[in-house]
């Protein structure tokens, strides 16, 4: 499902400008949305789902303009959304919560809904806990329930705000496999701090800095931003005056620098290097 954002700006009360003229076009596939805290990722996702109206600019999902009530509601039926911090109603069971959210999405057929909810609970490994109150769920179980609700109605666009936060390593691996499966036949926008998630699950990446879109392209192209600027420096050597340390270990440091540091050995850049290099050159 195609996404078109043109000139999208969002200013909050007090003059805080979370998005500044963002242009983003996505036809299909899984897009990893990256950026530092406060870069505007969550705001962009909220605007994309119609939960928040932009101050200026146009957003269309599947050709439906979110500025109109009918267009927004039609698009929202085909959008699955997992907010960053989701605290589902603790007084409901997992199954009831999914049923409630399915009804809010306009899924009226009771028999279909029951089967669909059971299928989603199974997909996130919560079948045995579906009848338990959410108050008794662990953080990881709540996250998985949130992922399940985002899949209600088999949406053409999936908007996931830090979906792997709070998941243990095994759950994270399982989610990545689910994401790879989901990304085959729909558009997925995935906001994350974890570059591994992007490297493993996304075909393209978008980077926000200070509310502006500073990169949108293939994941490999983001790594390439640091080509010729990534070095490994021995632990006893200085990293260089104008370099950014990407990773440090007792053996040495991996740095992104405009010029080769003393005793620096050029290495092939990773996605992390590319991301650091991009933010370093455009700190927003």
């Amino acid at each position: 499902m195609a996404i078109e954002m043109s000139g999208v700006t969002k200013a909050f009360r007090g003059g805080v400008r979370a998005l500044a003229g963002v242009d983003l076009r996505v036809r299909c596939g899984t897009v990893g949305l990256l950026g530092a805290n406060g870069a505007g990722k969550t705001t962009l996702l909220r605007v994309l789902t119609g939960a928040l109206r932009p101050t200026a600019g146009r957003v269309a999902v599947g050709g439906r303009d979110l500025a109109t009530g009918s267009g927004r509601r039609a698009a929202q039926r085909d959008i699955g959304y997992l907010p960053q911090e989701l605290s589902p109603y603790p007084d409901l069971t997992g199954r009831e919560f999914l049923d409630y959210m399915a009804l809010l999405k306009g899924i009226g057929d009771r028999r279909f809904r029951r089967a669909h909810v059971a299928e989603l609970l199974a997909r996130v490994g919560l079948t045995d806990d579906g009848a338990r109150r959410i108050a008794a769920y662990s953080g990881g179980m709540r996250r998985r329930l949130g992922i399940a609700q985002s899949l209600l109605g088999d949406p053409g666009l999936l908007v996931l705000d830090e979906p792997t936060a709070g998941l243990d390593p095994e759950e994270r691996m399982r989610f990545r496999s689910l994401l790879a499966d989901l990304g085959r036949d729909r558009t997925v926008v995935l906001s994350t701090h974890l570059l591994d998630d992007v490297a493993q699950a996304c075909s393209t990446a978008a980077v926000l800095a200070g509310g502006r879109l500073v990169f949108h392209g293939a994941v490999g192209d983001l790594a390439a931003v640091a080509r010729g600027r990534t070095y490994e420096v021995p632990a006893d050597a200085p990293a260089g005056a104008r370099s950014t340390v990407v990773r440090a270990s007792p053996a040495g440091q991996r740095v992104v620098a405009g010029a080769a540091p003393p005793r620096g050995r050029p290495v092939a850049p990773t996605l992390e290097d590319g991301y650091i290099a991009l933010l370093r050159s455009d700190p927003g």
Binding site: R77, Y89, L104, G146
Partner: protein, 263 residues
């Protein structure tokens, strides 16, 4: 947008908000003791009931005065809790407009909360039915419940939800209780301050109770002057209900606007 496309969202909201209200222990802790108090105050054996319909009207008035107080205090968090982390955005991203969802949230919670006072009113109508020798007082009890108790409870619950959005929750509950007492029993004859008590603006249900059930009107016959305290009658009772409906709509609209701005 067709009406049928809105039905699942409204049905879901009514069903699950009611279920959550049923599971909210605080609701029962607040309402049941007040309901028992109302029952104790309004219960009379058949031999003591001279006018069965008037008895039912009076019982409804007392039950509403006591129970609505607890209901309003407990339901103050109904809208605010839907704006908790992530849930506000999730609901805003659903194709169910707030103008249909918000009244359903209030109706579901209020419907559950009002089950107890309804039971009290019906129980009080049983000896009246025995005294009357027919089911007329039971029908009068249902009518009194709908016209005397429900409109004021809806207005107070909507106000409580609004206060829950603009004040810290504990303060919103205290303010709700204070406003109910101020607008229902705090007469200018008792307090040196203007109050809606005894006027068409009061949510206690005195005008319908007096006009349609023969109950002695609360304060309205105690010499309060002014345009807003006319003698009870069908016209003034209807005016009182219209005022309460308008207040309910106003409070819900404001709550919806504030909830949208909060996101």
């Amino acid at each position: 947008m067709t009406l049928s496309s809105l039905v699942p969202g409204v049905v879901g909201t009514l069903r699950y908000e009611a279920r959550m209200a049923i599971r909210q222990r605080a609701l029962w802790y607040a309402v049941v003791p007040l309901a028992l108090l109302a029952l104790a105050a309004s219960w009379h054996p058949p031999a003591e009931i001279a006018d069965p319909v008037r008895h039912v009207g009076g019982a409804t008035l007392v039950t509403g005065l006591l129970c609505t107080f607890g209901i309003g205090v407990v339901l103050a968090d109904r809208v605010a809790r839907g704006l908790g982390p992530g849930m506000g955005d999730l609901i805003a991203a659903a194709p169910c407009p707030a103008w249909t969802r918000l009244p359903a949230v209030l109706a579901a919670s209020l419907g559950v909360a009002l089950a107890v006072p309804l039971l009290v009113v019906l129980v009080c109508a049983v000896p009246a039915a025995v005294a009357d020798g027919g089911a007329r007082p039971l029908a009068a009890a249902a009518a009194a419940f709908a016209t005397v108790l429900v409109p004021g409870a809806a207005a107070l619950a909507a106000l409580a939800c609004l206060l829950g959005l603009v004040l810290p929750m504990a303060l919103a509950r205290i303010a709700t209780a204070g406003i109910w007492l101020w607008s229902t029993i705090a007469s200018p004859q008792l307090l040196p301050m203007p109050t809606p008590t005894g006027t068409l603006l009061s949510p206690v249900g005195g005008y319908p109770a007096a006009a349609w059930f023969g109950e002695r009107s609360v304060w309205a016959d105690r010499g309060l002057p002014g345009l807003l305290s006319p003698a009870p009658g069908t016209g003034t009772a209807l005016a009182n209900l219209a005022v309460l409906a308008a207040f309910t709509a106003l409070f819900l609209t404001l709550a919806g606007l504030i909830a949208a701005r909060r996101r």
